[in-house]
Structures are given as structure tokens and as C-alpha cells.
């Protein structure tokens, strides 16, 4: 678990700080070295098909991916928690109705709906955040609702009511602290999912737009050139996979710890 945590922090820090130290900018074209091999022409990892430094692009790409993932996960958390908490607390018919909606939406290929919306309304970065967050909020809603529902009928909540606590106090001091842990664990699991969605969209050309780059775009570009410059595919691919793996394993350990 510690390895996963430190890996994420290391990668995030690298993505934030290292580009400041590199001589090359991510969109700067080095005309002297197109498709350069690693360690040549002053490029640590070589260059891509247009002559841009691969290391710089990978780092910036990671930065963008993490930012989008963070923002989108926050959207999923907010929407999902609100929905799930209201459903779980209200119970009865309200809960049934709200969860039926979630069930119906679960069946839809959300990815496609997001792409659809992007096609229709154009591709702004905000839409990317919102759209991707909208893909993942359903799971969060289910998890939060399940937790709130289970807690609501626990004897300690009844005891709090018998002790004279008003509903607001019960929600704030009893329900929320017990939901926060599980929500956090699922948040950590949502982020890698979001990273995958963002990469997916970028790979297809529907996500982050040039001149910005993200890991998904890098993998797409790398795939096109892989016969000549395999590193252009393998390096961003490895970073992407590593990030997803680390975050998933951290999130799962946390979730299992809290389930006990």
C-alpha cells in the first residue's frame, strides 16, 4: 500500500515540477532531431514523429491527465454523494424512485452519451470535466446510498434520536463521519476510472484538444509511430498503466480496510 501511495505522489510531483527543469517545452519542435533515439540530441527519451521532446510531453501529458481526473472525480463525488445521501436518508418511495433512475441510467452506455454530448455541444474543457464526472457518479451514488441506508437503522442512530438529537445533528455527527471513509475509498477508485475514460476519449480524438496533450493523446500518437519509435508508445503507456495500477490498488486496500 505504501508503494502505491509513494508512486502516485512521486509521479504527481514529477509531472508538476520536472517540466520546469527541462530544457525543452512540450510543444517545442526540435528540427534537428525528428524521431530521435533516447539520449541523443539532448533528449532524454528521444523525440516523437514531429521532433518534440518525449519526456517533456509525457510529463505535461501526465499533468493534464491528473488535473482532468481530479476535477472529474470531484464532480462524481459531489453529485453521487448528494444523490445517494438524499435517497438513503429519505428511504421509502423517494429512495425507490431515485434508485430506479440510477438503475436505468446504469444500463446506458454512458461513454457514448458523453461523446454524443461533446459532438453536439462542442468540446470545451469544462464539458470534458463534467462529462467524465457524469460517467462515474452512478457508482458513487449507489455506494453512498447503501452506506447511509445501512447506518440509518443502526441502533446507535436510534439511540441518538432517543437522546434528543435533532435530525440535522444526527446527519452531521453520526452519518457523515461514517460515510466519509467509504466515500473516500471509492473516490480513490474513481480517479483511475476517470483517467481511463479521459485517455479513451483523447485517444479517439474527442477529449483534450491540441495544443494541450494528455496521456491518451500521447498513446494514440505513439501507436501511429510504433514501428519506428516504439518508445513513443511504451513510455506514456507505461506511465498511464502505472498510475492506474497504483491508484486502484491504493483505493482497494482502503476500501477493504474500511469494510472490516
Amino acid at each position: 500500500m505504501r508503494i502505491a501511495g509513494w508512486t502516485i505522489i512521486a509521479v504527481a510531483l514529477a509531472a508538476l515540477l520536472l517540466p520546469l527543469l527541462l530544457p525543452w517545452n512540450y510543444d517545442q519542435i526540435d528540427w534537428s532531431g525528428v524521431r530521435a533515439a533516447p539520449f541523443s540530441h539532448g533528449h532524454l527519451l528521444g523525440t516523437d514523429s514531429v521532433g518534440r521532446d518525449l519526456l517533456a510531453r509525457t510529463l505535461i501529458g501526465t499533468r493534464v491527465t491528473l488535473m482532468v481526473a481530479g476535477a472529474a472525480a470531484a464532480v462524481a463525488l459531489l453529485l453521487g454523494t448528494l444523490w445517494g445521501a438524499i435517497a438513503g436518508w429519505a428511504g421509502g418511495r423517494v429512495d425507490e424512485a431515485m434508485m430506479r433512475i440510477v438503475d436505468a441510467l446504469y444500463a446506458l452506455p454512458f461513454m457514448f452519451v458523453v461523446i454524443l454530448l461533446m459532438v453536439v455541444f462542442g468540446r470545451s474543457i469544462v464539458l470534458v470535466f463534467l462529462g467524465i464526472g457524469a460517467v462515474e457518479w452512478l457508482t458513487m451514488a449507489r455506494v453512498v446510498r447503501g452506506q447511509v441506508l445501512a447506518l440509518r437503522h443502526r441502533p446507535f442512530v436510534l439511540a441518538a434520536e432517543a437522546a434528543g438529537a435533532p435530525p440535522a445533528a444526527i446527519l452531521l455527527r453520526h452519518i457523515l463521519p461514517n460515510v466519509a471513509g467509504v466515500a473516500l475509498a471509492y473516490l480513490l477508485l474513481t480517479v483511475p476510472q476517470v483517467v481511463m475514460v479521459e485517455s479513451f476519449l483523447s485517444f479517439l480524438g474527442l477529449g483534450v484538444q491540441e495544443p494541450l496533450t494528455s496521456l491518451g493523446i500521447l498513446v494514440h500518437d505513439g501507436a501511429e509511430d510504433m514501428d519506428v519509435a516504439p518508445l513513443a508508445l511504451l513510455v506514456p503507456g507505461a506511465v498511464l498503466v502505472g498510475l492506474i495500477l497504483a491508484m486502484t490498488s491504493l483505493g482497494e486496500r482502503l476500501r477493504d480496510r474500511l469494510a472490516r
Binding site: 452506455p109 454524443l116 459532438v119 462542442g122 485517444f203 479517439l204 501507436a223 498503466v241
Partner: protein, 304 residues
């Protein structure tokens, strides 16, 4: 069982209708869509559109016409592929995608459940840890990374299989494998967890006390409850396969529905994009229905 069917249909059918209706609304609302009078269209397209969508009729009638059309399989003319209706394009691409997805699902189930059985029955051992690490890795690697990576290794370096295109069964091997791998990882993890839980159940202890051999206990008493989490996952698995297919078809140049979808999205061919979304939604709803029925078969308590 019929109760489950009725319940599912009761949610599924309205959902589908809502999706179709929403698509209609989106088409009208989209800025720069052909329905927006400002976009210049050549007379042929305009004529085709007027005929197909009845642009001169009042809005509710247009909506009803669209919904009725969709239910008959008529999604209107494509914006980009001038001579084709969306329906015709879907008919072209669907068999490819279904074959790809179907084979991938079968492979994923076989790999996943097979791996999980070995891992679960030797829980804690080396085989268990190895298989589960592999499964976790597989779920973390998106198919658009495995796809090109597989092509790199098997097509370019080892020259064993074709790089892209659809000619003959050999060209399906890499796409199916690339599509199936992440899903197989997820299935393996779910099935193993299900198996470990099932083997710890009281009824398995009863079977053991009865003196039954382990193989029989596994097959007769533990396997069905162990598969329950996998069956619950079938709906999301189908969605995952459809999504993954989009990428795989693009990477491998297969003329399937996913590739049409991407092209449509990039070229803003609204009718095509919407048609595919509706179709995919219907497929997933169907899959969820099958999954529910399978769950009922595995666990009689659900049947009521």
C-alpha cells in the same frame, strides 16, 4: 422467473423510449446541426432530410415519426455518407461488432472463470497470487494500450498475425484478445472473490461433513453461488466490451459499428451517432435482462 422478466421490461422499455426521445431533442438542439436552418446544405441532402424528417410538420408529430421510425429500424439518412441511410450503415457494421464482442465475451468468461477456479481452490498459494496479480494488471491496462502493444509484438516484431484489416479468421485473433483481456481480468477477480466466499459458506461445511469429495463440492455446491458476482457484472461487462470495441475497431481498422461511431462523432454526423447510441443502449438493456434471468437461475431465492 416471469416476475423478473416483467419487472425488467417495465424499466427497460420506458428507458429505451426516453433515450430515443432524448436523441431526437438533442438533434434539434445541436448548434450547427442540419436542422438548424443556418447551416448550408446542398439541395439533395435538404430534400432527403425534408422527406425523412418531415421538417414542415409540427414538432410533436416529428417526434412521433422519429420514434416510430427507430422502432422499425429506420434512423434516417446519414449526413456524411451521402448515399446511405444510417440503418444501412448499422446493418453493415453490426455483424462485425457483434462477432468481435461475442467472441471477446466468451474468451473473457473462459479465461476469467478458469483462472479464478485455479486461484480460488489454491487460495493463498503461488498460483493464486500469480493469477490475481495478472488479473489486476489486466484491468489496469486500457485496451487502447494492449491493442497497439499486441500489434507491436505479434504483427511487427514476430510477424505472426496481420496488423489490421478484416480478412479471414486470423485477423480477428489480436482484436478479440485485446478486447477480452481487461474484461477477463475483472471477471477473474470477481469470480475468485465469489469462490472464496462460497467455499466458506455453511452449506459447504455441511457437504464436507457428509464426506463428499472436493471436486463434487466445488461443482455442485460452490460454483453456482460463486458465479453470482460475475453474472451481476455482465451488464457493465457488456457496456465495457462495447466501449472497448470502439477503440479496437479503430486501432485494427475493422469495419465495425464502433468505427462508424467514431467517424460520425468526428464528422458531426448526428443521425449516425445517435442511431448507434440508441442501438447500443438497446443491446445493453437486453444484456441486463439476460443477466437478471441468469441470476434467477443461479439463485432460486431471487425467484421468490
Amino acid at each position: 422467473m416471469s416476475a423478473i422478466l416483467i419487472r425488467r421490461l417495465a424499466t427497460a422499455v420506458p428507458t429505451l423510449l426516453v433515450v430515443i426521445l432524448l436523441s431526437f431533442v438533442l438533434m434539434r438542439a445541436a448548434p450547427g446541426s442540419p436542422f438548424d436552418g443556418e447551416r448550408p446544405l446542398d439541395p439533395a441532402t435538404r430534400a432527403a432530410f425534408s422527406a425523412a424528417y418531415g421538417l414542415d410538420k409540427p414538432l410533436p408529430v416529428q417526434a412521433a415519426r422519429y420514434v416510430g421510425g427507430v422502432l422499425r429500424g429506420d434512423f434516417g439518412p446519414s449526413l456524411v455518407y451521402k448515399d446511405f441511410t444510417v440503418g444501412a450503415l448499422i446493418a453493415q457494421g453490426l455483424p462485425v461488432s457483434l462477432t468481435l464482442g461475442g467472441l471477446a465475451l466468451v474468451l473473457a468468461l473462459a479465461l476469467g472463470i478458469g483462472g479464478a477456479t485455479i486461484a480460488g481452490t489454491h487460495a493463498g498459494g503461488i498460483a493464486d497470487r500469480a493469477i490475481m496479480t495478472a488479473a489486476t494488471l489486466l484491468t489496469a491496462i486500457p485496451s487502447f494500450v494492449t491493442g497497439p502493444a499486441l500489434v507491436l509484438v505479434f504483427a511487427l516484431w514476430l510477424q505472426l498475425l496481420p496488423v489490421s484489416g478484416l480478412d479471414g479468421t486470423r485477423s480477428l485473433v489480436l482484436p478479440v484478445v485485446a478486447l477480452a483481456l481487461p474484461v477477463s481480468g475483472a471477471i477473474a477477480r470477481l469470480a475468485r472473490a465469489g469462490l472464496v466466499v462460497a467455499l466458506a459458506q455453511d452449506h459447504v461445511l455441511t457437504a464436507r461433513a457428509r464426506g463428499l469429495p472436493p471436486r463434487m463440492i466445488l461443482w455442485r455446491h460452490a460454483l453456482r453461488p460463486a458465479l453470482l458476482p460475475v453474472v451481476s457484472y455482465l451488464g457493465p461487462a457488456a457496456a465495457g466490451l462495447l466501449t472497448g470495441a470502439v477503440v479496437i475497431e479503430t486501432v485494427f481498422g475493422l469495419p465495425g459499428l464502433g468505427r462508424y461511431f467514431v467517424q460520425g462523432a468526428l464528422n458531426r454526423d448526428y443521425p449516425l451517432v445517435l442511431g448507434v447510441v440508441i442501438l447500443y443502449a438497446a443491446l445493453i438493456l437486453l444484456f441486463n435482462l439476460i443477466a437478471d434471468l441468469a441470476y434467477g437461475w443461479l439463485d432460486p431465492r431471487v425467484r421468490g
